[in-house]
Symmetry: C2
DNA sequence: CCGTAACTGAAAATCATTTTCATTTAGCCC
DNA sequence: GGGCTAAATGAAAATGATTTTCAGTTACGG
């Protein structure tokens, strides 16, 4: 794991604050702390890791609030779930637009990419199976440059 | 959910039995019951569902044995995990060769397909990110013909 | 058929997540 | 600048899936 950053991405936090507010969510100090924890760096984090980091900004924060804030942010598309080997409850700040995730299995650094074109494949599979395909998940797992070298 | 089948795929079970035995696992009546439960139909099942079905073949079976057998089979590649919306612990009989899964979000019927060619995409992403890509994970979610019509 | 390492189920432990509930507070209205 | 009210809060309890422990049982090679 990387060293937990003690600062945060103020711009990203401001944006998230706006989106939350625009959707009827109140901005509380604890929620702000969770936003900050999630804004810093592109690493897939567990709920408890987010909790630990957010506590630096709001020491009395409860883990329940982390879960509640994550739910809100997930439903607004501000964060997304990351599936890692044997870990299906990691969270990372979402990026705009259609894209997928490449995650380092060691430090859980996340790289966003787009450019996949699965429409042909999906059409073929839909035709032969008779299914209506509604969604597709693509995720790559590997080692980031730092973890590869160590 | 489909109606739980009371029979099983004897050929598949026999094959699994061989693989388990060849890898030093013993064939017990309870394990056999789990194999049978997994062999019938291509549906992604939770551990507890496998448990219920396997109990028809071995009424005193414990849930722990289901988990232990699943672990063994996962490590031998005989079953694979299926990730569904909000569900990351479903299991389905694996198929030979490289392939991916299309799962019905309603009845959890599974369709295996291959023919994806992600090598170009993966090379591109590896180059721009500097990551070594070790694994890729692709899954489609949709509705099977029966669930689509109802 | 014997010995032993593997396997077993029940119960307890663990761990992540959700629910409950009494209290506090953000943000709107005046 | 209060005051109001629904939303949000943390602690504790509940839940649910999975793992560990353990004493007894059993598959299977010799």
């Amino acid at each position: 794991m990387q060293n937990p950053p003690s600062d945060y991405d103020a711009k990203r936090v401001a944006h998230w604050r706006e989106v939350l507010r625009a959707n009827g969510y109140r901005i509380t100090p604890t929620r702000e702390a969770v936003l900050r924890a999630l804004s810093a760096g592109n690493y897939a984090l567990e709920a408890t890791e987010i909790f630990e980091r957010a506590r630096r900004f709001a020491p009395h924060l409860g883990l329940v609030t982390v879960y509640r804030t994550l739910d809100a942010m997930l439903s607004l598309g501000l964060v997304e779930r990351v599936h890692c080997t044997g870990q299906c409850s990691l969270y990372v700040a979402a990026e705009e637009g259609h894209h997928h995730i490449l995650v380092c299995r060691k430090c859980r650094r996340v790289w966003h990419f787009s450019g996949d074109d699965l429409t042909n494949l999906m059409n073929d599979v839909a035709n032969e199976s008779g299914f209506v395909i509604e969604d597709h998940w693509l995720q790559l797992v590997g080692l980031c440059p730092e973890c590869r070298d160590s």
